[in-house]
Each structure stands twice: as C-alpha cells, then as structure tokens.
Symmetry: C2
Subunit: 376 residues, 2 copies
Amino acid sequence: MNFDIHAKDTHCNARAGSITTEHGLIETPIFMPVGTAGSVKAVHQRELTDDIQAHIILGNTYHLYLRPGLDVLNKAGGLHQFNSWQKPILTDSGGYQVYSLSGTRKIKEEGVTFKSHIDGSTHHFSPEYVMDIQRIIGADIIMAFDECTPYPCEFSYARKSMEMTHRWLKRCCDRFDSTSPEYGYSQTLFPIVQGSTFKDLRKQSAEVIASFEREGNAIGGLSVGEPAELMYEMTELVCGILPAHKPRYLMGVGTPANILEAIALGIDMFDCVMPTRNARNGMLFTTQGIINIKNEKWKKDFSPIDEMLGGYVSTAYSKAYLRHLVISGEYLAAQIASVHNLTFYLWLVKQARQQIIAGNYAAWKNKMVQQVMQRL
Amino acid sequence: MNFDIHAKDTHCNARAGSITTEHGLIETPIFMPVGTAGSVKAVHQRELTDDIQAHIILGNTYHLYLRPGLDVLNKAGGLHQFNSWQKPILTDSGGYQVYSLSGTRKIKEEGVTFKSHIDGSTHHFSPEYVMDIQRIIGADIIMAFDECTPYPCEFSYARKSMEMTHRWLKRCCDRFDSTSPEYGYSQTLFPIVQGSTFKDLRKQSAEVIASFEREGNAIGGLSVGEPAELMYEMTELVCGILPAHKPRYLMGVGTPANILEAIALGIDMFDCVMPTRNARNGMLFTTQGIINIKNEKWKKDFSPIDEMLGGYVSTAYSKAYLRHLVISGEYLAAQIASVHNLTFYLWLVKQARQQIIAGNYAAWKNKMVQQVMQRL
C-alpha cells in the first residue's frame, strides 16, 4: 500500500492524497460505504461504482465470520470474488460488533468469548484468530482487534482497556507479520488508537500506535455518544501525534458536518452506517440540506430529489414519489434513498478534496457545514 | 391503440403481434411486471427498461387510489409522470384487491363498499367511479370493474356474479365513452370475461364481452386455485369466441408453463406477481429450471445465477452469494432475485415470439415447458 499526499491546506490540517492498493486507487479524503454482510444494504455493486462512485467499501468481520462463514469465503477466493466487488475492501476487526450486538460476551486478556446474535452459538475471538479471519476474508486493509469503550467510561476502565488493546495490537502484528495473504494480493494492517475521551490516554495511545509504524492508523472509540466538540478535540490531539505521511482513519464517523470538520483536522478516511441506515428511515442528505421525506410538505413536491447532485437516482425520481414509496413501505424507497445518500457522501468528500487542492478548504468547509446540515 | 398480428403458428393458436400505444410499442405475447403501488417491488425503473426489457407494467387501482391518492396523482400529471415510467401502463380495476385485501366489503348492484386495509377507512367503488379513477391514474390500458369469483364457486353464484359484471361493463363503457383522457394521450378500456369454471357461463360471458367490441379483451377469474387443466380448458373455450384480431389478456397468470400453454391457446398478454413475490422468498426461475436458492446445495456454488440468460444481475452475482443474501435477510437479495426473475419472464415471452415467427412454437413449447419447470 502506498499513500501519497498531493496537497495540503494552508489554513488547516486538511490534505488531499491517494492510497494505492492492488485493487485500485483510493483518493482521499474518502468516505467508505458500509457493506456489513458483504452487501451495502439496498445497493447493487454496479451502483456503487457507476452511480455512487465509491472507491472502497467496508465489510464486517463479525458478520462475515458468522455468515456466510470462513469455509464459504475461502472457497470463493475471498470477499472480492464472493460479492463481485473488484475495488478495495476494508474489514473492521469485529471488536465493535462483539460488544454491541452479542448479548453476552466475556472479555479476557486472551480474547473475547461471545454468543452469536443469530443463533446463540458460542464463539471465541483472539487477536491472532481475528488476523486469520481477515486473511481469509481477504480485505485490502484489515483492522487490529481492539476493545471499543462506551461513552461515558470510567478513567480506570478506559486505561485498562486501552492497555489491553495495545497488548492485543502486539499480538495482531506478530500474527499478521508471520502469515501471508491467501489470494496473491497484499494486505495491510491498521492499528487503532483508543483512550475514550481522556486526553492523556489518547496521547499515550497515539504514541504507542505510532510506534508500531504500520502503513496507516485509525482512531476508534469516538462517535459513540460523546459531544461532537469532544470528538473533535480528541481527533485533533491524536492527529498531532500520528505520523502525517500515513493515512488516518476516523472510525464510524459521521454526519456530513463531522466529516468536514475532521478532514480539517487531518483525517483521510471515514465510514459510517448513517447514510444507509437513515436512508431506510426516510432521512435524506442533500446538497441543499437535510430532508425528512415523510413530512407532509413533500407530498406534492414533484421536483427531483436533488437536482444539484445529479445522477439517475437523484434526478429521475421526485420527492413526492420517494415519499409515497417510504410511506408505502416499498423496497424501492430504501434503494433510492440509499443510493442517493451515498452519492451525496461521496460527492461531499470529492468536493472537499477539490477545495483542498484549490487551497480553499477552510473557508469552503465553514460555509458547507451550514448548508448541508440545515433542515429543509 | 392498434393491434397488428405479424405471425400465426400453424400447429396451435399462438400468434406474434404488436400493440401500439402513445407511450410506445408492446410486442406480443408479452408479460407485464406488476407495479402494485407504482413500483415494481425492489426494481428500479431503469432496470425495467435496461435489464428486464419490459414493454409495459401494471399498476393497481385499489392501491394507488388509497396511496398516494387521486389528488397527488392528478397533480403529478398521472402515474407515468409520478413514477418516471414513460412506457405503457395498464391498471387493473381494483376489483380483485377489494375482494382479497379488504377485510369487510359489501357487493351490491350499485357497487362495492369496502374498508381500506391500511387504515380501516370506508370507501365506495362504483363502475363509473373506477373509470374516473383510472382516467386520473392515466394508464394506457384500463380495465372494467368486475367481480372476480373465488374457486370453487357455486354455479348459481357464478352466474349471478357474471351477469352483474356484464351490467357493470355497460356502465363502465358508458362512463368511459362519455369522458376524455386527463393528460392528452388516449386510453382504452378492456372488458373482462368471467364465469368461473363453468363452460356455459364462460361461453355466454365471452359472447357478451365480444359484443361490446372494445379494442382488447381480458379473461379474469382464472388462476385462483383451480387445476391448471381447468384453466386451460376455459381459456381455450373463451379464446375461440373472443375476436382473433384483438389482443387477449389472461389476468394473473402465471407460472412459465402456464404462460407457454396459454400462448398456444391464443393469449397475448399476461401479468402475475409470481416472479417478484417468489423472488422475495428465494425462488428463482432460470433458463435451466427452478431453483430454491435457500437449499444447502447452492452454499458453495459460485457459478453465476443464470449464465444462459445473460445480463448484469444474472451473471455478475453467484448462486452462493445470492443464497447468503437471502439467508441474511439483505435487501439486495430481493433486488437481485426480482430483476433476475423478471428478466427471465421477459426473455421467455420474447423467445416464444421468435418461435411463433419461425413457425416452430408448438414443438419448442413442449420442450421448453419441461426444461424451465424442472426443479434443480
């Protein structure tokens, strides 16, 4: 994996770059649509490439491990072959899902024992096994196994958890570095900074993570309920420590405003279920602001969903039609809204990149945050 | 509306033709995907044109009347404008849904009073009002308001019901002929033959319906639970009476075998929810036979869904991936299976048309029925 920085903004820490993988180029800053179980919900793969213009998508280790399972994925030749997505894939480590979805789980030094949310069966994830799983899934970028602490979190718990995450990282790296890719293309491992919302823990964790000298670094444990200002504060602090010549990935973030603010702090990569999950509830992100399409005011609004954004889905269908589909519980509602929202997210980071290259990011960002976050 | 017959099979009553409407040409025999509430479930409009190659889709008067409602549809400029489908549309009369979906309904000579399945509100459909509604929806082909009898059905009830359907038809025609289209393009009205599974009633009904001399004729009240042989027998009898130079539409039919057999009897138009409804349950119709994709045998079958059929959806995704999506309850499962099944149905009638033109329909049909109905 290579990371090249093409431009830096002079008024903030935003940068425009590109990550080269064996499955293609990722222009940064980038938003990565979430394809939990090997499918970005309600979106065809060709829509990801042709309409949304995604450069990379996510897969979830926890979900893919449980279903379709490692035997199927391995026999298929990895996730790219299995789901017919030939561009880059990043897999999370499954840590977050083990804590959030699994009813009962026991976290020990050795690893985590948990019950499947599907059938209640018992499973064990160790840092080593999670590396093996992600080797089999075959993502281009794989994530270290960590504990994502909730918010709020006691200092003592956050410290102990962070220290274990660091020890687990050592085990992840040892396993990753002593094994080879399964399918002939290279993979890279990103470690994850933790430390909850405590400055000294975040500083300590960023230093430890940086010392591992991996090809890219991630920030986890944010966007879990804390105020946005606290998230920005932690992100700024950590970005000041993580090496500037490597990509920085802020996990699970966020709203359009969150993304634009974090880009200004030096973040290059984002993922979030918000554009797809909210789409399924009728919430649209548009170039003009946020729309709750269920509102009566859209009932007879026959204008396109987002003419400025362009593209088939956002211009062929009207707001009134989409409202009707959402209220009628039609599949097509989720399909239209998901493609639209993701197209908007990818448009937003592409605009951000162009503004960074033009040297105008900071000013544009302040205006854009107002524009895209207003309720229509 | 014009109907031209281009070829007739010499060994059976199959014919290849074309219906000209102001929204475009419909090559017959044709299968019409069902877009109940103004959307063919889980399918984008561009997929209907580009992938499935549909010539015409259906809308349901009952559903569209309740949601989005006539004010929205009229303000939009009709259903074509509302759902961005620019090819022909046929609407059923709502009769079938009033009987099957509405909890309580009272059928009288004047019309039907029923309660909405959505909110329990009370509504009244008369033959005249159903014409007015379909004028507002703006379908190219609209259907007469009829009573669809269940199977089995007492002779006396079937006779009385049929006679009322005939009287309603007179009222439909009077209203239709004394009103004008709402949106500048012409509409045509098809009457519906009833008579349950009684030969003399079907004969009588076909004669009455033919005497109205509309531009096309439909056969209703079949495919409601009766044995297939009985459906073919009634269809053959009715096709012998309905004028040969006008299109014949067999409503709500059916399996690939039903369609191929009915084409041989002289039917030109079909609609059915089967390809989309069964898709959502993981049942695939393919060029090689029927697949229950949930079966364990497809778990590691990484071959395309239907290589012979061609097209993005049927060749880009594997059986194993689709199985995984169905079992995981992913939206994309319904999307893939629906586009695939409809692509197959449209392929089947296109093949039938070519065989009729080649003068080889009867022999091809007997082979094809075996092939496409076998369980894989």
